[in-house]
């Protein structure tokens, strides 16, 4: 009798949890998993920053309404910091890289060693783009291909051809207009809003402390793939914001992924993350697999690193620890670097950060990606999705040239992209298949809102709250 009362009390106490406080029951948390590791994780890994942000539905017209897309261009894209290119794209003065966002286009150019500018990519005479979209190169001036008006690298007007015919053109008023530029960890960010906060204030102190610990400036683009996804850019981003979908969408990964007990955090208005522990069994599959199964089915961003490795576990060994040890040794060899101080968690786990509005950073070692999502300029229900793999610059070698972008068409598989691990490409294909149906389903639905989990889908809510704030003009 007394046991029954105790059970009842426990039930009531779990029901009494405040909204957002529930976690995957009877499973170790991400922090508990990481705390058992042999090589201790740094502070940026061992911290939590979850906050309940409401449980109302997210209205769905944002994913298909052209008026909403227009408001995004007018009020959001024009006021936020965006990753335009990497510094490695423009290493020398005169190097330039064209970054487009919808109808907007910018020439990102290095004017001098520590002077990077972002010019609006349009001739001030009759508007022709000074450089074609999607291009990069090196030049000593920007000459319009139409009538030859020319600007110096520093944006000042060099020549208006037949200037006798343009007495009303004053050189001092005809410098190329600029967006703001800041660099961080090898990334070049731009912002069209002259009154926007600095990049540091925009990202916030927690994230700034995290990114400074990662050394991403010492990585290079080893692989760059682009593909059009037939879904709104926000919907496409949200497909990558939670591990909740892993058990259904990526069953091949679930055996070695702590999906339901992944950790979710938000930082200020513009940054959120998850930590998804790898080398542990999904709580959904509890009791169905051995540690050896977990090790056998472990997949990483580039599985070629593990070819030929000993995958037989000894008595009492855990898959997670063996994976960490294997990865340390493999990546030390591959990168010719000493990784003895790098924690097991950093080697193994999936760290996924969103930088509002459209960039994901994955600072881990095994999954070193950057994602960028942009609306297709001609169709707001279509996304230009890019995946970059950032590998460490070889310790004793020169910095390799950044990989050329491989452009897949809408119907090609990610597994066809040169340089991409086929196992990873298959995961992205599974996400793409969902997105096609999700965009169509949202437009077909009788229900005008998305319903979100309080914890596992907090990044989606956090992201959409920022969208709402900007779109409403706040």
């Amino acid at each position: 009798m007394s046991e029954q009362i105790l059970e009842q009390e426990q039930d009531q106490s779990s029901q009494a949890l405040d909204r957002g406080e529930a976690r995957c029951p009877d499973e170790p948390t991400t922090q508990e998993i990481i705390a058992r590791d042999k090589v201790t994780a740094p502070g940026w890994v061992c911290s939590e920053s979850y906050q309940f942000l409401g449980d109302e539905d997210i209205s769905t017209e944002r994913y298909y309404d052209p008026e909403f897309a227009k408001k995004e261009y007018d009020n959001m894209w024009s006021r936020t910091w965006q990753f335009a290119c990497r510094e490695e794209h423009i290493p020398e003065p005169g190097d330039y890289y064209v970054y487009d966002l919808g109808r907007y286009s910018f020439i990102i150019t290095r004017v001098a060693e520590n002077d990077i500018r972002a010019y609006y990519n349009a001739c001030l005479h009759r508007g022709t783009k000074l450089r074609a979209s999607g291009t990069e190169g090196c030049t000593s001036e920007f000459k319009c291909p139409f009538h030859g008006w020319t600007w110096n690298l520093d944006g000042s007007l060099q020549q208006a051809v037949c200037d006798w015919d343009f007495p009303h053109v004053k050189a001092e008023e005809f410098s190329l207009p600029e967006a703001r530029v800041e660099t961080l960890a090898g990334f070049v960010f731009i912002n069209m809003d002259k009154d926007a906060p600095t990049l540091e204030d925009y990202m916030g102190p927690e994230f700034m402390a995290h990114i400074k610990a990662w050394g991403l400036e010492n990585r290079y683009i080893n692989c760059h793939v682009s593909k059009k996804i037939p879904a709104n850019w926000k919907l496409t981003m949200e497909a990558f914001m939670e591990a909740y979908h892993v058990i259904e969408t990526h069953p091949q990964v679930a055996v070695s992924n702590g999906d339901a007990n992944s950790q979710y955090d938000t930082y200020g208005e513009h940054v959120n993350r998850f930590i998804s522990p790898l080398g542990v069994l999904s709580p959904h599959l509890k009791g169905q697999h051995t540690e050896q199964d977990i090790l056998d089915q472990f997949t990483v961003g580039d599985s070629s690193f593990l070819e030929g490795a000993d995958r037989k576990l000894g008595e009492g060994e855990t898959a997670r620890q063996r994976m960490a040890d294997m990865m340390r040794s493999m990546f030390e060899q591959a990168a010719n670097a000493d990784l003895s101080h790098v924690s097991d968690s950093e080697l193994l786990d999936c760290f996924s950060y969103t930088l509002f509005p459209n960039t994901f950073l994955f600072p881990g070692i095994s999954l070193p990606m950057v994602y960028r999502f942009r609306p297709d300029p001609k169709d707001h229900r279509m996304t230009i999705y890019e995946v970059f793999f950032l590998r460490p610059v070889p310790k004793d070698g020169e910095r390799p040239e950044p990989a050329e972008m491989v452009e897949l068409d809408e119907f090609q598989s990610f597994t066809e992209a040169e340089g991409m691990d086929p196992g990873f490409g298959a995961i992205l294909d599974q996400d793409t298949e969902n997105l096609i149906l999700q965009q169509q389903g949202i437009e077909a639905s009788a229900k005008p809102g998305l319903t979100l989990g309080n914890y596992q889908e907090i990044r989606v809510r956090h992201f959409e709250m920022a969208i709402d704030k900007y779109v409403s003009g706040q």
Binding site: R131, A132, G137, C138, P145, E404
Partner: protein, 114 residues
């Protein structure tokens, strides 16, 4: 050094002709010269030599000062990019290819077939 333009070489059409000593075009280098009235650009990148027309198909500007990266050269004037392997125009404002030529090394000389 590798960007220096050399003088005309005389040659019969359809035959390999000496272009310059191989040492004149080190890795990452390029050199332009006129062979029988044709401007040829030789590039050394990705452990290979390539020979293409030195003239941009967009607005007939020399490609020699352009940036070479990932087996392509970009015209510095308006930004047209060409594959060094096939001559294909890879982006606007060019839409037409540039010529490519066979290239070989014989006795430490780069030879090009026009």
């Amino acid at each position: 050094m590798s960007d220096v333009i050399t003088s005309d070489a005389k040659v019969e059409a359809g035959e390999f002709t000496r272009f310059c000593p191989v040492a004149d075009v080190p890795a990452g280098g390029k050199k332009a010269a006129k062979i029988n009235g044709t401007w040829v650009l030789v590039c050394n990148t990705k452990d290979r030599l390539f020979a293409v027309s030195n003239i941009c198909s967009h607005q007939v500007k020399p490609l020699l000062p352009g940036r070479m990266r990932n087996c392509a050269i970009t015209c510095p004037v308006h930004g047209a990019k060409f594959s060094l392997e096939t001559g294909e125009a890879l982006n606007l404002p060019a839409t037409k290819p540039i010529d490519t030529y066979e290239v070989r090394v014989v006795d430490d000389w780069i030879e090009v077939k026009i």
